[in-house]
Amino acid sequence: MEGLLRSEEMTLCQMFLQSEAAYTCVSELGELGLVQFRDLNPDVNAFQRKFVNEIRRCEEMERKLRFLEKEVKKDGIPMLDTGDNPDAPAPREMVDLESTYEKLENEMKEVNANAEALKKNFLELTELKHILRKTQTFFEERHTDVPCSEHVQYNQLPYHGTEMLMHAEHHHPQAMHDPSMSDETMGLLGEELPRSGQPLRLGFVAGVILRERIPAFERMLWRACRGNVFLRQAEIESPLEDPVTGDQVYKSVFIIFFQGDQLKTRVKKICEGFRATLYPCPETQAERREMAIGVMTRIEDLNTVLAQTQDHRHRVLVAAAKNVKVWFIKVRKIKAIYHTLNMFNLDVTQKCLIAECWCPVADLDRIQQALRRGTERSGSSVPSILNRMSSKQIPPTYNRSSKFTQGFQNIVDAYGVANYREVNPAIFTTISFPFLFAVMFADMGHGMIMFFAALYIVLKEKQFGARRIEDEIFKTFFEGRYIILLMGAFSIYTGFMYNDIFSKSLNIFGSQWFAPAEPFSLATLSEFKKLQFNPNETYTGSPYPIGLDPVWQMAQNKIAFTNSMKMKLSVILGISHMFFGIALSLLNHRYFQKPLNIICDFIPSLVFLFCMFGFLVLRIFHKWVAYDSSMSQKAPSLLIGAINMFLFNYRDEHPDNPEVYHIPGSLQGFQCFLVVVAGLCVPWMMFFKPFYMRHQARFGQLAAERLRRARRQLEQPNVFENNRRFIRGAEEEEFKHQPLSVQSGDLLNHDHDFDNDQEVVHNNDTSGHLHQEEEQEEPFDFGEVFVHQAIHTIEFCLGCISHTASYLRLWALSLAHAQLSEVLWSMVLRIGFSSSGVGGAFMLVIVFMFWACLTVAVLVLMEGLSAFLHALRLHWVEFQSKFYSGTGYKFQPFCFDQILDHSADD
């Protein structure tokens, strides 16, 4: 019981680890995952710590592994996740690992470099192939034009081409006899126009460019060469592979005709600027064909070489892929260990590392065993020592949870992590949360959908868990599967109580209402659409055995009836929930031994809540029990009664009318008494505690306490002297540690003695900084305490009213849910029922599908989400505000599993 109600008892421990055994010990502790180490060198830079070189080596290894992983993924080789979890390798194995990775990386890089070179070659050849093919068509167009006259040919050129040629003809005839033609600037038209007698020699370059750059390229050419060039381009249909990035890119072949050397250099510069690759292109068709054949054979050769390279690469990667995951785990474990070692202190002799950690008292034995295993593995002869220390620091909160309670614990923690050893509401939440949810979501049908969906996930949780689905929405559902399961089950129950299944009712036990033959003859039944039932005549007198009588399903005033019932129900549930919360605060006060809080907080708040609303609950029950249908006119109105109670208004409006409720005189007095008591609770809560504390601070126990402390401080020098002696001893002989370090096994048994005997078991290095952290007793500040208490009081008193009203959401959401499902039934599914025949059957199928989808999407998912949020709010605000402070911090043990999970996500 205690284990579930409160967080684990924690203790601060000091560990003395031999330098050579430290690594293995920490590794064992990491596997265990029960120890949270404190950083003892918070002021030291990351790069000035002791094991920074090892961490760097780990990072280097990680980088290589990432590189390998990237390559493996690029090739689409599945990485084997065997799920084995190797121990962290010994430090000396690091060298082996490093060399393995190094070798693999180098091999990979070499293969990649080769492949890249080959691919580049291949790309060039392919581009050349395309150029030859495309330019062929350009030239062929020319050839067909040859028989035509020169001018016709010019006219067919696009505008700038024409201008260029004309320009060339008139102004630069000398350029046409340019002797210095390089191999790619061949005379193009010279041979083809021999009879014109004008040796018009145009140069050309051919190349390949990225398709998206074409427009800018063309514009730039036009501008830079003033229109004196002629560009033809054709798209390469199939994408080419970029050898560096491996992306598929689309390119275009272009050919530029120009004239003269100056233009040539300019065109080349532009090509270079736009990263176009130029290729030599022979001028005659025969040469081109010959070249094309050469290119084709070379491409084929290259293809075989490329295939072999890929094969080799694949083999290397497949071998690596088998191990990559395991390697990652190993390296990450090593890195985590060194990170932890960096948090440790080195003792004066440099022979052992000193660590401080929080650990649960109940697990000290296991930790001790882990340390022993670690020491044995390292082969060290000197045992590692675990000491408990006393500390004024607040320990972390560690709630053990199973897979069942984890979801509920998360709900509580999302609001705030409990203070150390505070009552943990998670255990109560496991029931109250699904229940309050179900009150709002009351429908057997929807509850069943929810229940079975959750049941499926729960039954298959091993498979789902192993699959590690990354989808966030699924993850949310998966984490909350037990919550959903319980919510579904409770909804079935509340749905049964409200007698609601897809907005219809079940008549299991037979309705307790009947229509006597006397007034309801067949004639009257067929004549009137609506009939009124008088409960005095048509009700058997004993209620429907369980839940709501199904007859209400047909009643016109169903909503009025259920509203009244649900409203009262939610007030009763809400008030009980809040009473329970206040009761839990008693557990807290008793545990933390604060009797003052019991008298000044717990009792007045209990009395206040009872006087205000507890009484209302009693009246609800009274009204339910004491008045039956025959005297319903005389039943008191709860709302008016409550208002009048606070206004002290007991004037009788209808003194003579016996049919109306009259408050009896004795009750009047009692009600007045309650209101006065509730009113008195406010100053009680507000003033008593701060003034009492001030009184104490001046004269009472606190002063005495201070006196005692002062006396203890007088004794303190002994301890310090003791300590100093110990330090000196440590410098001389190591075994002098022994008298001060006590085996934890002994500590477990009489830790109270320990606390008194050895106030300080600090090592020299740590003591100074620990003392700083230990807070000084704060001087009593009356103003602060008073303001705090006043705020608390006002918050509580106003809260009682608003929170009670807030619980009415139980009714409101339940009403909304019931109405929505009824609307869906009557507006959608009924259409399917209304038509008959074969068409009607098809119609029904379609309408049913529509209805079913809407039911799941709107009623189960959306309404479920909204009811979930409201239940969440009722727990966080209305319930937990009564006792839960939630300002603790979570216990975060050094645990390999978590570290690996976390880094796998990155």
Binding site: N45, A46, F47, Q48, V52, I55, R56, E59, E60, E62, R63, R66, F67, R213, A216, R219, M220, R223, A224, R266, K269, I270, E272, G273, F274, R275
Partner: protein
């Protein structure tokens, strides 16, 4: 009527984002740790614990300063591109304006490079990626400013700024400097007017920042022109006319003949007087340039005090640039084992 009312509809997300980015800027304590680094590996390790995270994780050691520089810049560029890709008008134009400055620098870098016969690929890698544009790599075909304009720049947003420098002269060092400053002048004035037209908080913050930028350029141009063949009239044409110095201060600056005269001009302006007073050339003193940077950092930090305005985007990029300069300075000092001056970075926060 109140642009602030509807600011968040279009730009609220990005403003929030950039304010979040801002909180990742290194603080004084980070710099204190950085200057203690012994090697670049140490530097990397410390930067890992800051907002830079694992930006160097995939770089094989040994690290070099240029790799760090590239990566730092890459991070800024990614952030800026993210902002640019998600923004709406008029923020889009505003962000574009910010890149024009880098474009001008790139153009000048490329022209100077080609003048010295450097291969274009080497130059391209030195260009700031924020200022890259499609035609940039073909810039070396131009040999005169007119050609440069007609062939390359006419399609870029810089074209209107270039109108003033079309001269049928060859590109030499002097002319390039004149082109750079004329471009910058036109750019600053245009940006200034754009921000002024925006009104509201943007105008308030950006006009202040751009006015300072303009005045800084005016001072620097004047000081650098001493001892060169630049005539006073030419010099006056290069001063951006949107700062606080305009018009009287610029008039006086154009007549200056040595550093002390510049100083007298600065004395008329309280904020600049302070900068000139503290600056010195003696060892241990801060240079005028550093003082200007410090003042800029102060202005930029202040611009985060205003909400619902675009100044934060400008300020963030400027602050980040200062941070990159700082880290590179420290990295260079560490790499060259020249620790004496390692402390002369300019802390941002």
């Amino acid at each position: 009527m109140f642009p602030e009312l509807s600011f968040n509809i279009d730009h609220g997300y990005l403003e929030g984002l950039v304010r979040g980015f801002k909180s990742g800027i290194l603080r004084q304590s980070d710099y204190l740790n950085l200057v203690q680094c012994e090697t670049l590996e140490d530097l990397k390790l410390h930067l890992q614990s800051t907002d830079y995270g694992n930006f160097l994780a995939n770089e094989p050691s040994p690290l070099s300063v240029s790799v760090i520089d590239d990566k730092l810049r890459e991070k800024l560029v990614i952030e800026f591109q993210h902002l640019r890709n998600h923004c709406l008008e008029p923020l889009a134009t505003f962000l574009d304006y910010m890149t024009y400055g880098y474009m001008i620098d790139n153009i000048i870098l490329l022209i100077t490079g080609t003048l010295h016969q450097r291969p274009i690929s080497e130059l391209i890698s030195k260009c700031h990626p924020l200022g890259s544009f499609e035609q940039m790599e073909a810039i070396h075909i131009a040999s005169t400013p007119a050609e440069l304009y007609n062939a390359v720049l006419v399609d870029t947003p810089l074209a209107p700024y270039f109108i003033d420098c079309i001269l049928e002269q060859d590109l030499d060092e002097m002319n390039i400097e004149i082109i750079r400053n004329t471009l910058y002048k036109a750019y600053l004035e245009d940006f200034f007017n754009f921000c002024k037209g925006m009104g509201g908080g943007t105008a308030e913050v950006m006009c202040e920042a751009l006015a300072f930028e303009a005045d800084r350029r005016a001072f620097i141009i004047t000081i650098n022109s001493f001892g060169t063949e630049l005539s006073k009239e030419d010099r006056e044409k290069l001063y951006p006319r949107c700062g606080k110095l305009y018009p009287d201060g610029l008039e006086m600056l154009s007549q200056c003949e040595d550093y002390d005269q510049v100083r007298t001009v600065a004395d008329y302006y309280a904020e600049y007087k302070e900068l000139f007073d503290d600056a010195g050339t003696n060892p241990g003193d801060k240079t005028l340039e550093d003082k200007f940077f410090e003042h800029e950092v102060k202005l930029m930090k202040n611009s985060f005090m205003h909400q619902f305005q675009f100044g934060v985007f400008y300020a963030y990029v400027k602050l980040k640039e200062q941070e990159i300069r700082n880290i590179i300075w420290i990295a260079e000092c560490v790499a060259q084992r020249h620790r004496a001056k390692i402390d002369s970075y300019i802390p941002v926060f």
